[in-house]
Amino acid sequence: MDFNALILFMVFSAVLSYLVSKSNIKLGAYSTILFSLISLIILFLGRNNIGNEFSLLYMNFRVTAIGWYFSLIMILIYSMTAFFNPYWMEKILYPSSYNFLYLFSLAATVGLFFAADLITLFIFWEVVVWSSTFIVPLGKSRKAAVVYFTISSIGSMATLFAIMFVYSKSGTFDINEAFKFLASEPLTATFVFFTFITAGLTKIGIFPFHIWLPLAHGNAPHTFSPVLSGGLVKMGAFIAYLSVGILPAYKAFSTSMTIMGIPFQIYLLMVLGAISIVVGTLMAIKQDDVKKLIAYSSVANGGYILIGILMMDQVTFAGSLMHIFNHAIASAAAFLTIAAIAHRTKTTKISELGGMIHKMPVSYVVYLISIISLAGIPPMGGFVSKWLIVQGLASKGLIFIAFAAFFGSIGSFLYVFRPLAGLFLGQLAPKYENIKPSTLVMKIPMVILASMSVFFGIFPKYLLETIGEIQTSIGIDPIMINGDTITTINGVLNTNKVAAIFGFGFVISLMIFLVLPKSRKVGLMDTYTSAEFIYTPELYHYANSFYAPFERLYKNHPSVEKFLGKFAVKTEELGILVNSLFFSHKPSVTVLWVMAIATLIFLGGVDI
């Protein structure tokens, strides 16, 4: 099917689901599942559309390989998350508008990835921002929506300035043509590069724009957080790709000063990405709320993705694209398990939960697989992508950034283990004795996403071949893959062998577990403390202050949030000052101003 109709179909499906929800909200939620699945199938089967161009009103579209790849990931995440929608319909204040905005923002992201000119790109970008801004406050925080929108605006306005500037110099809005003139003007190219990529930076959540991620992802409705973290953040990666791939950044900066072989403009952004990795990891380690924790891990992973895209070479770029996919499905699966738990227990705080493995074993396995993938441990998909990125960094000699990447990997062991131990392992609190496991409809997407993580970890060739085609279409050498062996300059990775080793290790541990005698299980409350019985299971939860010694190391860290908060307060105070200076209620103040300004102007302008 041609993609002309796809975007229109998605917009109409949004309106349709709104109308259906007006009569029956559960039916409306099911319709979102249906429509997003249909869109997924159409997009997947329509791969031969690559290269087509079409237009709608005044907006022009072009189907590119990389656009197809990004849209596929986006619709996948949206459709899997949609399975959870029916269970949240009673909790949300405006269920029909939620369904409408859900599908509408999906349609807008697809439009964004297929945009052929800069104005269309910007239109869909802003539409996604405002349609998701109205879903966020339906959750736990109103402030989150305002912060999300404001930081996003900062990025959007900078990008709009860059777009208008490029148009005024090159005369066209077409994405492929508009930036070409920059190849020979390094100074202008630097300016356009930094302003254009700002929208991408704010969307991915790169330091110092990262503060909206924990607020928005942490407080959005549980069925929308997976979409925000797994899906929408990747739009920023697309803009980052445009700034380095379409804008001839490397050619334009070929005469600039280079740091470790990379032009300093790009290196600067890679440093910001590295700082995001470190900040995201450290902040994630000390979180008690699981959703905020995973949001900070999205900040860290966003840093990886940005670094890889900026490199634009054979290995790191492929690793980045693969990481986009892996992070999307792993992060979405993690958020979905949290949503499943929250659906039953009404809370997402680690200190209040524990022992969920007894009641929700499937969720446990899904979560385990996802965090293994997020941390970059074999045999899951996340390992392959992180391996590629680190290989590429090391082979180019970028020591400090590679160090940050390593730090992120190791730190991620810490923060992924905390919710696992805190939520699932340990003792089940008495008040949760009677909760039921997650429903079948909820299990479907979780199992699908987890199996994808495993599958693409063992057989990455299906992904990497597509990525190779994308790389050729852009003009970089494709990643060398032969069967299941990936070859890079520094090393060779055969994922089948890695998976086999892990499988072997798993079997050995299983046999040891079955053979040796089991430990005796003791109930949480079955303990004796100096002649007193205990009545409060919460205090004995070992997940309280889980990493206290480590957290004490960086307790008094400088915080971007506090800085920006003070900035907002200063703006308000400036507003109050303006008020008192100019807007009093006596005519004399204004007349004084009139006379003062008039005198100044006359003195300045009259030729004596």
Binding site: V127, P137, S153, T571, G575, T590
Partner: protein
């Protein structure tokens, strides 16, 4: 029926009649508004002489593409506003009729002194309308400042008359082309002060907060959309097309415009009451439009002006009605009020998003056009300031919208139980017209070509190189 003077005379006549026929005042007002709207579609462009003396010895009315569009929009908005709030028009019908006559006069006239007279008429009706809120201190402030401003305008005008010997717009424009305008700083700036007081530019706008902040739904929307629109159209005419400005003056006016824009947005950011947020946004938009007219862009500026006045008509009506019924317009006390007034909420949201300039709404189309215009004039700093102002505008409007739609404490999910106790009841007129206007905003945003080709006056404005008829008059005086 093709002489536009009827647009001025008929409301005036009906105003005098309404003093005699006290019981039918509302109907007379309605008849006059409808007549004006119908009349706009049948008048033809051209220069019409009043009083038998040819211009420049007498006064003429100037109907070109620019003023035709202005008259069209202002009359239609006037009709829509008095229909939306028609329960409030009874005591002020006479004043509103005179105001309608004066507004049309301001837009149609081709003579600067005639402009002064109509400006005074419109201002006096403004002073009277502002007394509705019973807060006389603010009306008094407005009166004093308005009179001083008009006085200074007259002062500057007389100096111009003394130099050029004519009061006719086209004539003065023609004569100024061959004069060293560096010497004209004093009179032009005095005239600027006169118009700036009414146009709400800093630092001449001390009266705005008291008057707009206490206006009810009829008067608030009239001030913010009809009056503001008229004065800005006049501003564009006088400073964009008639007077030839020296570079020094252009720099000064642009600076005042930018300061108004930023100060207005920042002041709005610090406010909590809906009407105050809206009025500061109006101030900022006036600054923006004024500075754009001075830099020489006509078509994009008119688009932005239309964006401002249509959205403000909707938003001030809603805000005024809310404050009437709920006794307050503090956003913190009105959380979740749109949950029970969904149509009004959607209209308000669409207007706010269009004002910020988000795509799929009309405001985006006008913003892109004005940015294109600014970049083609290599005016990067002004563009940067406009984008900065948009960021601040987005922040406070989204904050307001989120408060009004989704109530709730921080940390708890938004729920129907957090909706405020105060109830607001919107009548049918308001719902229908507000919704219709927001549909127009949406349609114009999705498909601006609909607006461009269908609105005939827009078409002429776009196609003509010099949309101002006065340029033609200059040749054949």
């Amino acid at each position: 029926m093709t002489n536009p003077v009827l647009l001025i005379v008929v409301p005036l006549l009906l105003a005098f009649l309404s003093v005699a026929l006290k019981n039918n005042k509302k109907q007379l007002l309605f008849i006059a508004a409808v007549f004006n709207v119908v009349g706009v579609f049948i008048i033809e462009n051209g220069s019409y002489v009043i009083g038998g003396f040819r211009a420049p010895y007498g006064i003429n009315l100037n109907l070109d593409a620019y003023s035709h569009l202005a008259v069209l929009v202002i009359n239609i908005l006037f009709l829509l506003i008095i229909t939306m709030s028609n329960e409030k028009t009874k005591e002020f019908s006479t004043v509103l009729l005179v105001a309608l006559a004066g507004l049309n006069g301001m837009l149609l006239t081709g003579d600067l002194f005639n402009l002064f007279v109509f400006l005074e008429i419109v201002s006096i009706t403004g002073y009277i309308l502002s007394t509705e809120s019973k807060k006389y201190k603010y009306s008094f402030n407005y009166l004093i400042l308005g009179t001083i401003g008009s006085g200074l305008y007259l002062f500057g005008l007389i100096i111009l008359y003394a130099i050029f010997g004519s009061l006719n717009m086209a004539d003065i424009s023609f004569k100024m082309l061959s004069y060293d305008t560096g010497k004209l700083v004093v009179p032009i700036f005095l005239m600027f002060i006169g118009l700036a007081v009414e146009a709400k530019l800093i630092p001449f706008n001390g009266w705005v907060r008291g008057v707009y902040g206490n206006a009810n739904s009829l008067i608030g929307s009239l001030f913010a959309s009809v009056y503001a629109g008229t004065i800005l159209f006049v501003f564009g005419r006088v400073f964009g097309q008639v007077l030839v400005l020296s570079e020094y003056l252009v720099a000064v006016f642009v600076a005042i415009g930018v300061i108004t824009l930023i100060a207005g947005e920042v002041a709005a950011f610090s406010k909590n009451k809906i009407r105050e947020i809206l009025l500061f946004s109006s101030i900022a938009q006036s600054g923006l439009v004024a500075l754009l007219f001075v830099t020489g862009l006509i078509f994009p500026t008119v688009l932005q002006l239309l964006n401002n006045i249509i959205t403000k008509a909707v938003m001030f009506t809603i805000a005024g009605k809310i404050s009437d019924d709920a006794d307050t317009d503090e956003a913190d006390k009105l959380k979740g009020i749109f949950a029970n007034n969904k149509i009004i909420g959607v209209s308000f949201t669409v207007s706010a998003l269009s004002l910020i300039g988000l795509p799929l709404f009309y405001g985006f189309y006008s913003k892109i056009n004005l940015l294109l215009g600014l970049f083609s004039k290599i005016n990067y700093f002004v563009a940067a300031f406009i984008l900065l102002a948009t960021i601040i505008e987005g922040a406070y409007f989204i904050r307001l919208l989120v408060k009004l739609w989704t109530p709730g404490e921080e940390g708890k999910e938004s729920n129907i139980k957090f909706v405020t106790d105060r109830k607001v009841e919107f009548d049918f007129n308001k719902k229908v017209i507000a919704f219709m206007l927001s549909l127009i905003i949406l349609l114009a945003g999705i498909s601006p070509s609909l607006v461009k080709t269908n609105l005939f006056a827009m078409n002429k404005l776009l196609n003509e190189e010099n949309p101002s008829y006065m340029f033609e008059l200059k040749g054949g005086m």
